[in-house]
Each structure stands twice: as C-alpha cells, then as structure tokens.
Amino acid sequence: MKRIYALEEWCIDCKRCEVACKVFHSKSKDPVKAFLYEQPKPRNRVRVEGNRTLSIAINCRHCPTAKCVEGCISGAMTRNPETGVVTSNPEKCVGCRTCVSMCPFGAVTIEEGPTHPIAFKCDLCGDELGVPGSPSCVAACPNRALIYVESEGN
C-alpha cells in the first residue's frame, strides 16, 4: 500500500501539515472558517514533534497488524483488508482510549466529537472510511519532508 513517510532530514517544524490536515477534516474545508468559527474545532491527525532544530511529523503508520484495531472494543477501528487503510468510525467509537494505550506512535488522540469524545487519526484524506485519498499534509509540506509512496508491505 501507499504510505506516508516523514523525513527528519527535511522537516522544518513549520506545521503546515497540521494546518492542512485540520482544514481537510473540517466541515467547510476553508482555513479561516475551520480555525476561527467551526465547533467542535477540526482536529489535526498529523502532529509535528520537536522544535526547529529537530522535528518530525507523526501520523498513523497503518500497521499490517494494527494494535489499535486489535484493542478496539467497539469495532470502530478497522483496517480495510483491501486497501490496508486503518480508520476509526466516529459513529461506533465510544472514546475508551484503548487505541491510545496501544498505538506505539501516539498517532491516535481522543478529542471532542459531535456528542462525546472519540478517536481521531489519519485516514489518508479519503472521502470514505478505509479508502485512501490524496493526503493533504503531503501536499502542504513545503520541503518534501512528507512523502506518500508505495511501501514494501501491506
């Protein structure tokens, strides 16, 4: 499957990926509305760690044996067997944080959802769950510190 890889060598801690992620996952897809008006606030699923000296963007690795899927008590977190994309169904998620306790990368967060806190994670910017789109973080990166490429595994 195609995966997003982050490259420390080029990450410059600008966090444009975070902005783009938030905007893509907003209702309006407009940065001004997304940041200043929408409630609940759109959440970024990619997170830049570090500072200007050393930084890297972290998002879901879409593991073949995904621990978050293994741990999910509600069946919300699933890995599409065809595409390999791991997504959380907001309708089913109860926000128990098992995925948070299981993800080795800290790539899942529990944040305020429409009715109660639920899991947020990278969905590869697909229009529907489990189907990859074209990741907006990769497009927003000014320095190719995020690449979306065919990986060696599924």
Partner: protein, 451 residues
Amino acid sequence: MAITTDYLIIGNSAAGLSAAEAIRKTDCEGSVLIVSREPYSAYGRPLISYLLEGKTTLDEIWLKPEEYYEENRLQRMLGPDFEVVQLLPEEHRALLAGGEAVEYGRCLLAAGSVPFVPPIEGLAEASNVFPFLTLDHALAAQEAAREAAALAAVEGRPSRCVVIGAGLIGLKAAEALCGYVDEVVVLEMAPRILPAVLDQEGADVLRQQLAQRGITCLPGITAQKVVVEEGCATACLLTTDELLPCDFIVAAVGVRPNSALAVDAGAVQGRGLVCDSQLRTSLPDVWAAGDLVQVTDAIDGSKRPLALWPVAMAQGAVAGASMAGAAEAPSYESAFAVNAVDFFDISLLTAGCINPPEDGSFTAVTEVDGDSYVKFVFRDGLLVGYILLNRPACGGIYTAIIENAIPVDQLDPAIFSAAPENLDFPPALRWARLHKFYPADRDRRGWKEGC
C-alpha cells in the same frame, strides 16, 4: 442427524470472531460454525456501560455488519439451545443444550469468563442482583435502575444502587448507572479501588474525582449480608455493621474462566486452560483463546488468565491461524496487561506491573499534578509498568517501550516527565520504528538516487 463442521468455535466474542477471521485468511473453503448461548450477533462486551450512558446505541454495538458473516461464510447458531453442554474431544463431538450434536474437525474454546458470585448471605437469592458482563445483564440493570428511580421519586427519597466490587467492571457499571439513579455506592473489600490496576496513591486520587462526579466508593468495606425482603435485596449490611439501604445491587466482584466444558472433558487447567504456544489445549484438536486461557505474564512470569479485549483478539488470531494450518502460524508466548478505561471525563491508562513487590529489584517514580497521577515502574533498566491517570497523550508509546523492552538509558529522560514523543527514541531506533516497509529504492532523504 448431527451437524458437521470443519471448525467449531464455542463463543461469539473477541477471541472467537478474531479466530474465525484468522481461519478465513488461510482456509477459504472449510466450514466454520460459531455457537454461543447469547442470542445476539457479536458485540463489544465492554460497550454495555457506554450503551447505558448513551455513547453508543443498539444499532452501533455490533462488531461486524451482518453481511460480514455471509461474505465469509461463517455459520452461527446463537441462543440458549446452542450452548455447548458437553465436549467429547476423542469423538470430535460437542453436545448442545437443545439436544443436538455437532461433529467437528477442530474446535476452539472461546467462551470467555463467567461472573464470580461471592459467598455473601442473601446475594444469590435476591432477584434484583445483577452481574454486569453481558448485554442482557446491562439491559436488566438499566430496567431496574429506571424502576428504582421512578419508585424513589414517588416515595420522595433518593434512589440508590450498590455496586459490590470496585474493579473495572464494577466502576464502569457505577458510571453507567449514575445517570439513572441518585446515588451509586461502590463497595470494595480491598483497601483501594481498582486494586488490580492502581496503587494506593492513584486509587485515592481517582476515588476523590469519582466522588465529585457522584460515585461514592468505600474501599476496605464490603457487604457481610444482603437483606432480602420478598425476594428483593433492600439493603446491605456492611462489614462496618452499618445498614446501607438500596434499590438494587450490581455484583461485580470478579470473573473466572468459563472453562468447565474443557475441564470436564479432561483438559489441563491451571488458573486458566493450559495451552501451548499455538494455543492448543491438552485435548486433541481443541484450541482455546480469550479469557479462559492461562497466559504467561511477560513481566513477572506468573501464569494466569488475562481477561482483556486486546489479549483475546491477539489469541484468537494465533489460534485461528494454527487451526487452519497457516504456513507461517504466529506463536503466542506471553503478554502483559494494558488497560484503558474512562470514567466521565477522567481517563486512566495502565500497563504491566503496577504494584511491584518490595524486594528491591523494582524502582518506581510517581507524580501527582493537579488531577493527574502518573507512575512508572522500572526493573533492570527497563520500563515494566505505568499508571497514567488523566495524562493519556501518546500512552501507547510507553506500552511499546515495555513490549519491546527498550532500555530506558537509550531514551531521552524527558520521556517520563511529559507526554512521550517519538523523538525521545535514539535516531536509529526512531528510523526503524517510523519507517517500516520504507521503499527500498529511496534513501533516508526520500531521494531515489543517493548522492
């Protein structure tokens, strides 16, 4: 005429379903039959408290859509008639409560746990005492809570539910029922709440926060007797000799492996069913997965069941692969407990060894900061356990550190003082962790040609 199947799966929850999925990855042809005494499609057992809280609905709790079973040709026989009452491993037969027999090729025991009923006088005979394990239990408790609230309103007194046992199940039940009745009192024989997953200090912090949200926990106190009037429990006589009136009781003292079937058939049982690394029991062609399996604790080497969802899922996958004769069948060696639980807006993540023996081989670091309580337990330069109360961010990174036994001296010391980061790992390890399946034709700069 007996029912015949290649694979018989006894139990329709995490382990059973995970095994069925694993079987299908290798064997697309063999017939798979799942039997369970519960008349429902597989659902997330831990969801019952969330269902009562309204965080999920009866439409959403099902683990798989109905089409899934058809697409994967998983036959199901669900309901009391289909409970397996006897297993005849030599004959490869299982007898069902309804009188039918199933002839199987290979069998998986994934029947989970059953509630343990404590020997408290009056408890067993009262009709308004509920366990809190299954959907039926939860719906019954919900109904009782509604009736209690209505009755109490008429009588002009507060309605009250007593929960016996402040383990994970007891406290989740308390949280769920809190929205229905006026008072929820949780009794716990042990000197602290959540005795298995918290230490004393953490338990005290959590207990105060639960109290602020309407749940009274009484650690060190339990019921010596239940007062039963007309078949209904009306009060608990506490070990302090106080009488605590109640409208109904949730009994959540614990669970034990639901392994009687196998034991009766002659399976070797320790604190759970004894299995090999492929999760084969001592019985021929009988595998086991989930709560009833005795697991080797990866940290202290002790052997006991780990009644946890992720463990059941992982075991189901191993057992299923082995049953289907997968070419590269994974093996199951050991595990350690990882728990994630939330009460209202309180979050609690714990893993591994939390209350280490004071034999000098462990060190622990704790920190209380406002509402949060954090504890890390170390042994021989390795992290072996943690408590993260109200500091959940990136907790799974700690779990990975325990699981992969990453020496603490390789990590940035700051990793324990705030939310852990991937950058706290040394560069080579960091790269390996974050770049699995990295394309072979690219270098670490993302370039196709080196320079």
